[in-house]
Amino acid sequence: MALEDICGFEDTPLHRKSFPASHFEDTATFFDCYNAEFRGLKKSVRNSGIPLQFFLPTLPNSPLFNQKYRSPFSPYKHLMTVRRPFPLSHGTTTLGFIFQGGVIAAADTRASAGGLVACPAVNKITPIHSHLVVTSSGSGADCMLWERILGREIRLYQLRHRRCLSIRGTAKLLSFMLHPFKGTDVCVALTLCGWDKEAGNTDSSFITDDSSCTVLSSQDVSAMAYPSSSNSGPKLIYVCSDGARLQGDIFSVGSGSPYAYGVLDGRLRWNLSKEEAVSLAREAVFRATHRDAYSGNNVDLFHITAQGWSQRKREELKEEYYRDMERRAKTVEKGKRETVLDALG
């Protein structure tokens, strides 16, 4: 996707269209995501500011049917979406927090559609580049495609400016890309977990070694001395399709997030060691999957440091659950024996 754009690859007029001409195209409008409304947004030289063209159905009662002019507001808002006869995948528990050893991102792996588990082994945490992972929550298809679009835009930025976009910049870019869809039923709630590598000046000198921010691989960054300014170091930013963009130290998103917050708020401290942090994240997701019907199956864990992200092996929660049951059975046993002894003694 990104390489096509930077090379300006558009050989046929049909290339840019998602699908060939059909007879009802003259009544429908093909709309670009990046419309003229968004002046501040950087576009590439060719028309490829468009991440994806969307087909907007013209329904008899919608204002689009009788009007050809483009309203100053987002056209997607006036859209009366055709009622879908199927449910989309939703429901999850994801969390991220910052501690002294970097950033931990954890998520469950269940994708549910209505009452059915559509897939028990989904990847909800996706690496975007060597120092940024994104945890996704909301509708599965929306998250997957928007992460793909975000990865493409970050890669284009890196190719054009020879440095990585900061995490805050990435969050802003994503938030602006999602803005035209506010009010529609696009449901995306992403947490960007990453590590900013360089000094905070926006007109910073270029780093000529552009392999320092390798996309989709976790190579070691050779000792880069970054000054201890507030713009470098671990970052956690929550971006939502409603328009929210929040930076923080701890976030949990999804239907299981209240349970995860309970566990995290109780035990999270800055001075945790890496093993303690990992075990806390796993415990939080485990408790959430236990109580929330729409979360379950396995836990994925990512740890992001100045050297990049590393992934922990996916863990089946069934074992954890049985171990927990045994532990509880033992404490109940012990309690019973003690009360019996007290009663006797």
Binding site: D11, T12, L14, H15, S18, F19, P20, S22, L52, Q53, F54, F55, L56, P57, Y76, L79, T81, V82, R83, R84, P85, F86, L88, S89, A111, A113, L116, A118, C119, A121, V122, S139, G140, A141, D142, C143, M144, L145, T184, V186
Partner: protein, 225 residues
């Protein structure tokens, strides 16, 4: 006596979708892939056709199974065929299964606000010759799997496949890799069971077995009631 039925004006809303039934299944092995579908086309209480298979051959190494609304299945396969030809003419090579899956994801998401009501499953061989199955939801979310069932009987078949192919929820079993003969027999048995309990599945089963030698098709009779 009073009449107890509603006798005022009733609003009927036109729905552009309709559900035509059918079940699709795909299994990936070490060096083969199987895509199977029943051949019944139904709508409401009627059967439109007993010979409407839902597997469509895309390339020599990829077959797609589409179930849901038949109109959208036909259009979607035409669009995929056209895009495959465009790719072949621009790049002078056929699309690999993984590339077709990624392309289908963007095609489906381009219709996020008026989706194709189709449950797709792509089965084929990847660039290394191993079996690959890609399963989709109607708006383009996809994932590579070892096995997947889609369509009207998917909720009945998926747990059975989880147990027989994935060895899930069984203690103390040896995980033997799936051979082609065992996979074909399993698919036939699984569809016979589906035809027993799902009204939209039946009539006949069409199997496409994809190996590096090519695509072989088999047809097996199922319950016609």
């Amino acid at each position: 006596m009073k009449d107890y039925h509603y006798s005022g004006p009733v609003e009927h809303k036109f729905s552009p979708y309709s559900f035509n039934g059918g079940t699709v299944l795909a299994v990936a092995g070490e060096d083969f892939a199987i895509v199977a579908s029943d051949t019944r086309l139904s709508e409401g209480y009627s059967i439109h056709s007993r010979d409407s298979p839902k597997c469509y051959k895309l390339t020599d190494t990829t077959v797609i199974g589409c179930s849901g609304f038949h109109g959208d299945c036909l259009t979607l396969t035409k669009i995929i065929d056209a895009r495959l030809k465009m790719y072949k003419h621009s790049n002078n090579k056929t699309m690999t299964s993984g590339a077709i899956a990624a392309m289908l994801s963007t095609i489906l998401y381009g219709r996020r606000f008026f989706p194709y009501y189709v449950y797709n499953i792509i089965g084929g061989l990847d660039e290394h010759g191993k079996g690959a199955v890609y399963s989709f939801d109607p708006v383009g979310s996809y994932q590579r799997d070892t096995y997947k069932a889609g369509g009207s009987a998917s909720a009945m078949l998926q747990p059975l496949l989880d147990n027989q192919i994935g060895f899930k929820n069984m203690e103390g079993v040896q995980h033997v890799p799936l051979t082609q003969e065992k996979a074909v027999q399993l698919v036939k048995d699984v569809f016979i069971s589906a035809a027993e309990r799902d009204v939209y599945t039946g009539d006949a089963l069409r199997l496409c077995i994809i190996t590096k030698e090519g695509i072989k098709e088999q047809t097996v009779a199922l319950r016609k009631d």
